[in-house]
């Protein structure tokens, strides 16, 4: 029996197709297309340059931040350099953060840090990749500075009353990375093993690092 005959035609169309999201030519979408086509026509950039940039942006992920955190867990001197100057510490282990001014904050037994950008959606993309949709939502942005303990609890992260919450509102030229607490039971782990416990959300501060 051929593959086609396995399928009931009605079954294939049971779900309506998701509408395209690129079908509305808004003002800024038209402007982006016009500027891009002009730059390509004039030989300033090529279509392949544009594609390559998009590929690079999509290729960045939280593994970069996790590498920094795992290194900090293993190397106290590195952690101190990182807390003093995050951008330099990133460069030190071969992570290009571009013009980003990185501030690294550390969770301890007395302080829990969490990042938000109330004005827009500033995010350390060079270290964590593209931000999750909820990070850009009005709900998260307005409530995290107003009732952080309630918002964290909705993420499943309940912070004890004797631990201070420190919310960082990323309003200007700095970008932030949280070093979560190192899980117990990881005493002899390698950097690569530790890095696997460091999730994106734990570096935003809405979660803890994965337990062993």
């Amino acid at each position: 029996m051929s593959h086609d005959q396995d399928h009931d035609h009605a079954h294939v169309h049971r779900f309506p197709p998701r509408p395209d999201q690129d079908d509305t030519l808004t003002y800024y979408r038209a402007m982006e297309t016009a500027v891009r086509e002009l730059l390509i026509d004039k030989g300033v950039i090529t279509a392949d340059d544009v594609r390559r940039q998009v590929e690079d942006m999509d290729g960045r992920n939280a593994g970069r931040g996790a590498k920094m955190v795992a290194r900090a867990w293993l190397d106290l001197a590195y952690k101190q350099r990182m807390l003093a100057n995050g951008s330099k510490a990133a460069e030190e282990i071969g992570l290009d953060v571009g013009p980003l001014k990185l501030v690294v904050v550390e969770n301890t037994s007395s302080v829990h840090n969490v990042i938000v950008c109330t004005l827009c959606s500033c995010y350390p993309r060079m270290l964590l990749g593209l931000p999750p949709d909820w990070y850009k939502s009005r709900n998260y942005r307005s409530r995290m500075v107003r009732e952080p303990r309630a918002v964290l609890a909705e993420f499943g992260t309940v912070i004890p009353p004797d631990v201070a919450i420190r919310v960082h509102d990323s309003t200007a030229d700095m970008r932030y990375l949280v070093v979560p607490k190192r899980p117990t039971g990881t005493e002899n782990w390698s950097e690569a093993e530790l890095a696997r416990l460091v999730t994106r959300d734990s570096m935003i501060g809405v979660a803890l690092a994965n337990e062993v």
Binding site: K101, V103, T118, L119, V145, R146, E147, P148, R149, A150, P161, D162, A164, I165, R166, V167, H168, D169, S170, T171, A172, D173, M174
Partner: protein
């Protein structure tokens, strides 16, 4: 014209955010305007975003600070713990010196 305005505040200084509502692109959130906090760190000087947004140079650059606010000073009905804080980046031209905490 100098490249950057000299910085006026040091770590630990108490400051008050100007309570002003100018039109245009402003990066000082509403919820801290008129509120007092403490300088947590000096971040350096950056071109003024209120000028950059309109294709100007933003020079001289404005010193930028991280200011720490007690949640209870921002929200009278704050439901968390008294030790909870918010830290916000604020440019110098939005800050005024404030006396010691009463």
């Amino acid at each position: 014209m100098p490249d950057a305005v000299a910085h006026r505040f040091q770590i630990g200084d108490r400051v008050k955010v100007r309570e002003a509502y100018p039109i245009g692109h402003v990066r000082t959130p509403y919820y801290v305007r008129g509120k007092c906090g403490v300088i947590e760190r000096v971040c350096g000087a950056f071109p003024n975003p209120e000028e950059l947004a309109y294709a100007r140079e933003g020079r001289p650059a404005q010193p930028l600070y991280r200011v720490r606010f007690l949640q209870r000073e921002l929200w009278t009905d704050y439901a968390g713990q008294p030790v909870d804080v918010v830290e916000v980046e604020i440019y110098q031209h939005w800050l005024e010196a404030e006396g010691p905490q009463p």
